[in-house]
Symmetry: C2
Subunit: 523 residues, 2 copies
C-alpha cells in the first residue's frame, strides 16, 4: 500500500477537446451504427476492428527526420518506435490489407466503425475524439464497386430513417475534373503527377460554387478575391479564356439542373396516381443530359472521356438497381478535398432545410463522402491496389436524425419501484424482477428512502414513465399504486380541474395485473 | 502535393502487443456486448461512454515528482499536462462522477463497455488493448445494490448463453476478512488503515487455496514456501495459533461445501418430477450454514459481524429474487486482489470443465468480478461516495461461449452472385438487390471474372452458403443455377456416387423462385 500523504484535490476534468457521452446519446448513436452495420453486412461487407494504436510509420503522415511527429495525431515514443492513435479508419485499412493480404479475399469488402483521434485545436462542437463509420472495397478496379457503394449508401440513409426525398448522393469523377484541367492546359497527360499549385486552387474554387456563386469562383480562378472580412484569397491567375472553359463546365451543371428542376416542377403540379411516375420521369433525364454536356467539355482528353464513361456506367447500374436520379445523381461540382482520389467521388447530401443560428433556412448538407483511391497500399507493398469506399459523418448524421425527430425513445427511463418501508426491500426487488421478466425496464430506488419527495424527484430526473408505490396497507391488500409520471407532468402543466378528475395520474392496481397495466401505460 | 522521393517500403505491422479483429470475431463480441447491455439497461443502468483519453492526474496512479509517468499506461505530454489512454473503466467513472455529480441522479447506475489500454509486456493471448464491460452503482451504501449487481450478473450470464448449471457467483465480504484479521491480531480496529505487509500476504495466500491446497496456504502463512521451479515465496511469519484460526476459517468453507455437495449428490440420485426441487432444497442450506460458521469465527470483531450480516442480507435478497444458492453462493475464499474493496466482493466462475493445453480437464474459471469500494471519488471531491460494481472479462466470456458452441453463425458469408458475362453486370446487381430486400446477405463477385474457378474459390474463402450462376442461356430461359456450397463441401468430402446423384449440390431455379429456394437452403 502506498504511503498516505495529505491528499491534494485532483481536478475532475476531461482533457481539453474531449467529452463524455451519457445515456441516450450513447444509445442513439449505437442504434444508428447498428442499423448501418446491418446494411453493410447485407451487402457482403465484413467487420474489421483494427487496433486503435498504430506505429506512426504505418500511419505514414510524418517525416522520418523530425524528432517529434507533426501535430495532427496523438503520438508517443516507445523504445525506437513512435506510436500514435489512429486519425481515421482508412490509414489502418491500408496497413491491415498490406499485412494480411494473403489471408483476405480479393476483393476485400470491409466495414469499420469506431472512434478516431485528432490532435487539433478543439472548437465549438468540434472534438478531438469522434466516431467514423466506413465501408471500402479493396482489390477491384471495377466501376461496379463504386456504383455498389453509392447504392449501399442510399440504402443506409433510408435504413437509419432519412426519407427518400430528403437526400441526394452526388457523384462526380476525378478523371472528368482532370480532363477539364487538360483542356485548360493545367494538366499534361504525359506527366500527370507534376504538381501544379494552380490545379489545387481551381479544385478548391469549384468546390465553393454553392457558396460564392459564379462571380466569386471566377475571381478565384483569376486574380483572387477579397472576402467580407477583408481577407485576401490568392487566385489561380488563369486567363479569361481558361476561366470561360471552367465556368462553362460549372455552368453546364447549373443549366442542366435548372432544366431538370423545371421539368420536375411541372411534373409536381400533376395530380393523381401517376404524379410520382411523372416526377421520376422528368428527373430521369438528368444523368444522360449531364454526361453529354461533360463529354463535349472534356473534348479529346482521353482521361476525361474515360471519366465520363465511368459515370455513365454508374448511372446505368444504379438505374437498373431501381434507384432514381434524385437519389443518386451525377454532379460535376463535387470535388472532395482529399488529394488521393483517382476516379469516381461521391457525397451524400441531406436536402431538407434546417434553420441556422441566425434563424435563416439552410440545407442540412453533407453527411457522407468517399471515392476511388488506387495508391493506398503502395508504400507498404510497392504495388498499386485499386480501392473505393465511403465514410459516414456519424455525428452529423445523428444531428440530422435528431432534427427530423427520428431518434425514438432511447431516453426513456426505468419504472421506479419506490421504497415506502425499508424492511420490505426484498418484496420491492421481487416486483422489479417481475417487471424485468416482462421486458419492462425497472429498478428499486436505492437512495436514502426517508424523504419520499426525493424518490419522486429521482424518478423525474431519470425520465421515468411511472413510479410504483406500495406501503404496508397496499401490501396487505395485494395491490400497488401506479403513478403515471408522463401524464402527471402533462396535467400539472396545462390541465383543467375536470381533466385532473377524469385522468387520474395515480391508480390502484392489483399486483398480478401490474405488468398488463404498465405495458398499456408504456404504449 | 508532397514532393515524391523514391519510396521506402513501410512495414505493415500492428505495434507489438496489439492486434486486429476480423469478421466473425467482431460480430460475435458485439452480439455478446449487446446482450449484456440489454440486461444492464433493463435493470435501469444508463450507458456512459467516457473519453478514451484522460489526464494522468485524473487517472491518478502516478507520482507528481516523476518526469515521465510510470509504466502501465500509454501516456504523452501536452503542454503542461500528461495525457494517457484509460487503463480501465473505473478510474474514468470516478472522474466523470466527480465532474458531473450535480447533473447525475443519486444513486447513479451506469454501464460502460469499450477498449482499455495497458502498457504492459504482451504475452500469448495477452494484448495491450482489450475490452472491458462494467456496471456500477454510485452513491448508495445499501447492500441491496450489491445484491442487485449479483442478480444482474446471473441474468447477464444466462442472457449470453451460459446455462444456469454452468456458473456460480461467489460472494464474500472484505469486512469478514478484516474480522478474521482482527481475531488473529493483524488488524487494529482503532487504526484500520495502518498498513501491514502481513495482511497482504495472508489475503494472497487465501486467494490461492484452490491452487495450493491447505498445506501450501499454511506454508505461506508461516515461514514461506518454495515452489516447483525453486522460487521462494516469502511467508507472513504467523504463529501456529494464528495459522490455525485462518485455516479453520478456510476449512469452514471447505467443510460446508463438502456437506452441501453430499446433500446435492444424494438429491441428484433422485428420479421423477421433484428431482430438481430436492436438489435445490439440498443446495439451499448453504448460505445459512456458512454464515453461521463465519459468525463464530469472526467472534467479537464488530466489523466481522457487520460483514456477516451484510452477507445474510444479500443471501436473503437473492433467495427472494428467485436465485438458487448454486447460482449465487456465499464463499469465504473469495478475496479479489484490488486493495480498494471495502465491503461485499463477488466473482462469477464458470463451473464446467475444459481441457487445458496438456489435455487435463480444468474448470473454466472466473469471467467477472467486482465489489464495493467507497473511496473512489474522495481525491476529487474530498468526500467518500459509496459505490459497488462489476466488471466482465469480455474475452474470457467470449472464449467460454466458443467452448460451449454458443456463438451462432456470425461467420456465415454472403451468397455470391457470380459473373459469367461481364456485360450483364447490371442484371447480376439486380439479382443481388432482390436477395437483400428479402434479408439475404448477398454480393456480386467484383474481382476479375475471367477465371470462373477463382470466383468459386472466393466464395469458399468467404464461407458462402451458395453461389448463383447465370449465363446467357439461363438468362434467356429466366432461370439461374444455384450451387449449394455447404452441401457441395460435405459431398466432396465423404459422399458416395449414389449420394452425389441423389443430392445434387447444384440445381436450376426459376428467377422468381430464387428467394424462396435460398431461404429454404439457408435454413
Amino acid at each position: 500500500m502506498a504511503r498516505k500523504d495529505k491528499p491534494r484535490r485532483t481536478r475532475a476534468e476531461t482533457p481539453k477537446g474531449f467529452r463524455d457521452y451519457f445515456g441516450a446519446e450513447v444509445v442513439e448513436r449505437k442504434a444508428m451504427l447498428d442499423a448501418i452495420a446491418e446494411v453493410y453486412h447485407l451487402y457482403g461487407f465484413d467487420a474489421l476492428e483494427s487496433s486503435a494504436v498504430e506505429t506512426v510509420e504505418a500511419l505514414g503522415k510524418f517525416l522520418p527526420d523530425v524528432d517529434r511527429p507533426n501535430e495532427g495525431v496523438f503520438a508517443w515514443q516507445e523504445d525506437a518506435d513512435w506510436l500514435a492513435l489512429r486519425y481515421d479508419l482508412t490509414a489502418p485499412l491500408a496497413r491491415v490489407y498490406a499485412q494480411h493480404r494473403n489471408d483476405l479475399p480479393t476483393p476485400y469488402r470491409r466495414y469499420a466503425m469506431g472512434p478516431v483521434w485528432r490532435n487539433e485545436k478543439p472548437g465549438p462542437g468540434r472534438f478531438r475524439q469522434f466516431y467514423q463509420c466506413d465501408a471500402d472495397t479493396v482489390g477491384t478496379a471495377s466501376v461496379a464497386a463504386d456504383a455498389e457503394i453509392c447504392m449501399m449508401l442510399a440504402d443506409t440513409l433510408e435504413a437509419v430513417g432519412i426519407a427518400r426525398s430528403d437526400y441526394a448522393i452526388r457523384v462526380n469523377n476525378r478523371k472528368v475534373l482532370n480532363g477539364v484541367m487538360e483542356v485548360v492546359g493545367l494538366l499534361d497527360p504525359s506527366n500527370p503527377h507534376a504538381s501544379l499549385l494552380e490545379r489545387g486552387i481551381v479544385l478548391r474554387a469549384i468546390d465553393k460554387l454553392d457558396r460564392l456563386g459564379e462571380a466569386g469562383v471566377r475571381a478565384l480562378l483569376g486574380e483572387g478575391r477579397v472576402d467580407e472580412s477583408g481577407d485576401v484569397a490568392k487566385g489561380a491567375g488563369l486567363s479569361e479564356g481558361q476561366i470561360d472553359i471552367i465556368t462553362a463546365f460549372l455552368g453546364s451543371a447549373k443549366n442542366a439542373r435548372l432544366l431538370l428542376s423545371e421539368g420536375v416542377t411541372l411534373a409536381e403540379r400533376e395530380k393523381g396516381a401517376e404524379r410520382r411516375e411523372k416526377i421520376d420521369a422528368a428527373a430521369s433525364g438528368w444523368n444522360e443530359l449531364i454526361c453529354n454536356e461533360l463529354k463535349s467539355i472534356v473534348g479529346d482528353s482521353t482521361q476525361g472521356q474515360e471519366g465520363v464513361q465511368e459515370l455513365e456506367k454508374i448511372a446505368e447500374l444504379v438505374a437498373i438497381g431501381g434507384y432514381n436520379q434524385n437519389q443518386i445523381t451525377i454532379d460535376p461540382s463535387v470535388v472532395r478535398g482529399l488529394g488521393y482520389y483517382t476516379g469516381p467521388v461521391f457525397e451524400a447530401e441531406l436536402t431538407f432545410e434546417i434553420t441556422d443560428e441566425k434563424g435563416r433556412p439552410q440545407r442540412f448538407g453533407s453527411v457522407a463522402g468517399g471515392g476511388r483511391y488506387d495508391d493506398l497500399v503502395t508504400r507498404f507493398t510497392g504495388q498499386a491496389v485499386p480501392a473505393t469506399g465511403v465514410s459516414i459523418g456519424v455525428d452529423r448524421l445523428l444531428a440530422a436524425l435528431r432534427a427530423k425527430g427520428r431518434l425514438g425513445d432511447a431516453a426513456a427511463g426505468p419504472v421506479i419501484v419506490t421504497v415506502m418501508d425499508r424492511d420490505r426491500m426484498a418484496e420491492y426487488q421481487r416486483i422489479c424482477a417481475t417487471l424485468r421478466q416482462a421486458g419492462i425496464r425497472a429498478e428499486v430506488y436505492l437512495g436514502n428512502p426517508k424523504n419520499f419527495g426525493n424518490q419522486l424527484k429521482y424518478a423525474d430526473r431519470r425520465g421515468s414513465p411511472a413510479a410504483i408505490i406500495q406501503g404496508s396497507d397496499e401490501a396487505a391488500r395485494g395491490v400497488v399504486q401506479v403513478k403515471d409520471l408522463v401524464l402527471g407532468t402533462r396535467l400539472s402543466q396545462d390541465a383543467t380541474v375536470e381533466e385532473w378528475k377524469e385522468n387520474p395520474s395515480q391508480s390502484e392496481v392489483p399486483l398480478d395485473e401490474l405488468v398488463t397495466h404498465l405495458s398499456r401505460l408504456l404504449k
